[in-house]
Amino acid sequence: MKILTELREGLGISWDAIRANKMRSILTTLGIVIGIVTVTLMSAAIQGLNRAFVKSISALGADVFYVQRDSWINDTEEDWLNSQKRRTIRVADAEALANQLTLAVAVAPVAEANASVQFKNRSASGVTILGTTEDYLLTSGVEMSEGRFLSAADASGGRPVCVVGEQVATNLFQTASPLGQKIKINAQSFEVVGVLEKQGSFLGMISLDNRAIIPLKQITTVFLRDPDVVIQVKARELVQLDEAREDLRHAMRRVRRLAPSEPDDFAINQQDQIVTLFHRETATIALIGLFVTGLSLFVGGIGIMNIMFVSVTERTREIGIRKAIGAKRRTILLQFLIEAVCICLLGGLIGMGIAGLLTFAVEKILPTVMSPAIVGIALFVSLATGVVSGFLPAWRAARMTPVDALRYE
């Protein structure tokens, strides 16, 4: 009750003081506004970047392992060179692996090539040709917008059918339906049985829509006799990921006939690895960015402290009067702390408003996100700035003796 009364009184006094020195308050607040705007924008940009990345990376699937010759992430150049010396992973390895696995729902070997694709007189170049099986639908999580995916019969029989990505479909057929049409890949004819849903790009670089998917058996005849394949394995359950990974590793070692003393001559890649690496990198960027922008907030805080010292000196007599009629140290301390916090919170709110508008404006170009967490943190930071920069001046005010304060001219 008592503390509430004091808080309310403190708020009233602060508001009066802020209004009484309008220009001074505006300028001081401006320092905080600038600080909060930069810090908030920085956080929004970092968070936006993270979101965009996670969204993009989710194309890999959280529960999918990618068994391939080299690891996605190599700590040293030597690791990478070693992985290049390894035996290729063959289609036969994939088939043998599929028979061994118990904790997997789908095993899809994927061989990749690059080719141009023709339909009548139109052609699309630089198309990624994937040779795989019907399981790829499960491991990749792609969606069909038209028609169907490769069937088991297509895959095992090696029938000349294909599924095309959205970009290939528009390039070759424009608005017409590609279903049932015959396209030429490397001078070989394939019937289009399905079109993939638009997927966008991977990490903003590789288009996931400029693709054509054909049966694995076709790619070994049309392109490469013995391709290096990536085996995509989808775990049965997300919670058993580590177990599934171990199971997969042992199975793969058996398939590759590795002696117990030999190291793995393959890598098991996961979405997780990239995410971890990315977060490690962005954490560093975030730290540096927030430090630099934090400096501007710090300068704003110094401004507050300075003006609070002025305010305390100016109001020495008032402090004396208040103390004479019964204000305790705590009351005076609270009064000036509230004033500093008010200025900072005001600056914080205005700053966030501006940052919100700016975020909204650049959203089209840069992936920025102004989340409730950022708003909460920014409010807390401005409050903390107020408390920290207001404390010393308020403490000086609280410690004044009433006799000296009353005598002050």
């Binding site: 008592k2 008032e318 009067i321 103390k323 019964g326 204000a327 305790k328 140290r329 006799v403 009353l406």
Partner: protein
């Protein structure tokens, strides 16, 4: 070099009874301000004792003194010392805020106090919209609002013209009649003459203590410095 110890007050022993109307007189530099600060609990003596209502306040810390000032002392200053940004009513309400009273009760008591000094129609005026006499009356209302043991006035008429000065002294007379304990610190004989007891201080020591009527009272304040 070395600091020279100046005894603002020494060998001053006096007792003031509840309901007394006392004037403390002395030329400037006599130590009467120091005495007032001690009596008003604004300062504690470096040595010696000060008992207020039988409680030794000489050893109290800052916060305890603030509480004692809030409950037991009502100040009236020469410079009025009202808060410039607050209206008359809020100024009067301030001691009650520090006493932690709920808002509606505060309002009621403050309104009552401001009416007692005859300023009910001016309660929403800021100090700079009031005359000197009115300001001092607001200060008196503020001093009395917590029903203190002592009304302590420091040159209450020093910044007023003689006519309003007389008005304030009449108000004090009135308050004394109603049983308030009043201590007025002044260097003006005219002001002191209103009191029923005059204590004179010179060079830090007691130079006179004359009573103008000898009615008995209970002890309210005792001070002694070695």
């Amino acid at each position: 070099m070395g600091a020279e110890t100046v005894h603002a007050l020494r060998d001053v022993s006096l007792e003031i009874q509840r309901g007394e109307y006392v004037a403390i007189m002395g030329p400037s530099g006599s130590g009467k301000s120091t005495l007032m600060n001690v009596v008003g609990c604004l300062d504690t003596p470096t040595s010696g004792r000060y008992e207020l209502n039988g409680v030794d306040v000489s050893e109290m810390d800052d916060n305890q003194l603030a509480e004692v000032r809030n409950r037991e002392i009502g100040f009236v200053f020469q410079m009025f010392n009202l808060l410039a940004r607050a209206d008359a009513l809020h100024n009067v309400e301030l001691p009650l805020i520090y006493a932690g009273l709920p808002a509606d009760e505060r309002r009621r008591i403050a309104l009552d106090a401001i009416a007692q000094v005859g300023l009910a129609d001016r309660m929403h005026h800021k100090p700079n919209e009031l005359s000197g006499g009115q300001r001092q009356r607001v200060a008196v209302a503020r001093a009395l609002v917590n029903k203190p043991s002592i009304l302590l006035a420091d040159e209450p008429t020093g910044n007023l013209d003689s006519k309003t000065g007389v008005e304030i002294m009449t108000l004090f007379e009135d308050l004394s009649q109603k049983g308030n304990t009043i201590i007025v610190v002044t260097h003006e004989e005219d002001v002191a003459r209103h009191a029923r007891r005059i204590i004179r201080i010179r060079d830090g020591s007691l130079a006179g203590d004359e009573r103008r009527s000898d009615d008995r009272h209970t002890t309210v304040a005792t001070t002694s410095t070695p």
